[in-house]
């Protein structure tokens, strides 16, 4: 239960007890629920992420997940697996560690700062395509949250697969804000819809930079927060459909969101054009009127003389 934070200084070497392979620490990049992640250089000179932890069983389950995903052909789900071993520190204590691909990128919040609101929908669609593949492989992501995502080359990627659970089992790891159980919106069974709810909450978070509590009426709180965010307005219907259970698969939600994004919009440029056109037609009308009234005038003068 105790969170152990390791502080390995740059240049420290972590040697595998079983394989003897050596990793040189470059810097610490983060501390998760069950370990500390370091940027490191492998014996072959590659840059990787090394996770050092305490709970050997939990670390091993994560490794099993990482391995499984490198086997799903064609699509890359999560960082690729590199190595797993134990490290014995100077005091003789053994710590499990594993090595994986280092994903470099920006946090979702930082990425969105410089972007238009369309990107909320685009990131959600990207996330849903990955989830579609994961669900098809028989798994649910589980602990889906912005902390577990990075945007790398304008593409969202997940970096922590610790919560991935086989469909039909119980979700073991979750974060309340993204958990449908917390919001009274369903069970904690690993179903594709469990992840879809988390996607709506990630979108909610993009619309409300500060997370909020459930209050006494969780569903009302959600509904109110959804309606009160102008940024979320285009996605309102899809999110509501998801909450009502009208959306059951990642593919379905992806299509609905793509529909919103593909909708023709009145961009500033085209509306200016229309205004110009309007002016033109006005001119034509004015000219026609002048000609008509001129003709009428001429005819009336002529009739006077006749």
């Amino acid at each position: 239960m105790k969170k152990q934070v390791f502080d390995l200084s740059p240049g420290s070497r972590v040697t595998g007890k079983w394989s003897g392979r050596v990793y040189t620490i470059i810097k610490k990049v983060g501390a998760g629920a069950c370990g500390t992640v370091f940027l490191c250089r492998s014996h072959q000179g590659e840059t990787c992420a090394l996770k050092l932890g305490e709970d050997s069983s939990r670390m091993m389950l994560e490794v099993n997940m990482l391995k499984k995903f490198s086997k799903v052909q064609g699509v890359k789900l999560g960082p690729s697996f590199v190595d797993v071993d134990d490290w014995v520190d100077r005091s003789g204590r053994t710590h499990p560690f594993y090595v994986m691909e280092y994903v470099e990128g920006a946090s979702v919040a930082d990425f969105l700062k410089a972007k238009t609101k369309d990107w909320i929908g685009i990131l959600a669609v990207q996330l849903l395509s990955d989830l579609e593949n994961l669900h098809n492989a028989g798994y649910v992501f589980g602990d889906l949250k912005t902390d577990n995502l990075l945007v790398s080359g304008s593409k969202v990627r997940w970096i922590d697969v610790g919560g991935v659970t086989a469909i039909g089992r119980a979700i073991k790891e979750y974060t309340e804000f993204y958990d449908r159980g917390y919001w009274n919106m369903g069970s904690r069974k690993a179903e594709p819809t469990y992840d879809l709810f988390a996607v709506t909450m990630i979108m909610m978070e993009m619309g409300h930079p500060k997370r909020f509590d459930k209050g006494t009426h969780p569903q009302k709180t959600l509904e109110h927060r959804l309606v009160s965010s102008p940024i979320l307005k285009p996605y309102k219907r899809v999110i509501q459909q998801c909450w009502k259970g009208d959306i059951q698969s990642a593919a379905q939600m992806k299509d609905s969101l793509s529909g919103v994004l593909m909708k023709r919009k009145k961009t500033p440029a085209s509306s200016r054009q229309r205004r110009v056109q309007n002016k033109k037609t006005e001119n034509v009308e004015l000219a026609a009127l002048t000609v008509a009234s001129g003709l009428f005038f001429a005819v009336s003068i002529a009739s006077f003389f006749l």
Partner: protein, 245 residues
């Protein structure tokens, strides 16, 4: 390996015991009977620093072979389910370690296996955690200082039931409160598979100014067996026979 039935007592308290026998001793006794004791110390959200007396929380859980955690009220829900799950895994790992030692002879544990085999064993442990049957007796300290925390406790118990009922194994829960002037503990909810409908729980409480954690834990042991422990033993029947795998 066939999944068995795990038994746990979950003690929720906010202070140290000050009456009757030593809870650490009773927790050790529970462990001998195959019942794990987990303890959560609940702090006020405004409380800063660790108040006195909560070291006991750790000692009770340690003696009871369980998990302990001290938390603020607001994170109670998530902690309750996490502690319960962790204790389950711990118990199952203990059983698996014993089996490993029988097979491999020496003092072999899961942690000491080479990564490849370890990877396979943890999958088995995980599978057992998903499919084993579980009995949790929740023992809530309802002494005066806990009163305003009880709504949060109620939410947390509902949440615990939600988490565990997502598993494929079956669950049984019961809730007891202490102190009770006459019987030491009061039954709030009898054995039930779900803690969904617990309205009105903790509504009529009469608590004195003492915290008899030890005697309460002992009563909880009796409650687990269904009838008084000594009666069962007199009948030369082991009430905990089913425990284990």
């Amino acid at each position: 390996m066939k999944p068995g039935r795990l038994k746990q007592i979950l003690l929720l308290t906010d202070g140290c015991s000050n009456h009757g026998e030593d809870p650490v001793v009773v927790a050790a006794l529970a462990r001998n009977q195959g019942i794990t004791v987990n303890v959560i110390g609940v702090l006020d959200d405004r409380q800063s620093g660790r108040p006195q007396g909560l070291e006991e929380v750790e000692s009770i859980a340690e003696a009871g072979g369980g998990v302990s955690q001290i938390v603020y009220q607001k994170s109670l829900s998530q902690t309750v389910q996490m502690v319960t799950r962790q204790a389950m895994t711990q118990t199952i790992q203990g059983v698996v370690n014993k089996e490993l030692q029988e097979i491999l002879g020496k003092k072999q544990t899961i942690e000491e296996l080479p990564p490849e085999q370890r990877g396979e064993v943890v999958e088995v442990v995980d599978e057992l955690g998903e499919s084993c049957d579980l009995e949790v007796l929740v023992l809530v300290d309802t002494s005066a200082s806990m009163h305003h925390k009880l709504p949060t406790v109620k939410d947390a118990l509902f949440d615990l039931s939600l988490s565990l009922n997502a598993r494929s194994g079956s669950n049984q829960f019961s809730v007891y409160a202490f102190p009770d002037p006459k019987k030491t503990i009061t039954k709030m909810v009898g054995w039930t598979p779900e803690l969904g409908e617990i309205h009105g729980i903790f509504s009529k409480l009469n608590s004195g100014g003492y915290t008899p954690t030890g005697p309460a834990l002992k009563e909880a042991l009796y409650a687990f067996a269904g009838k008084p422990l000594d009666e069962r033993l007199r009948n030369e029947e082991d009430p905990y026979e089913e425990t284990g795998f």
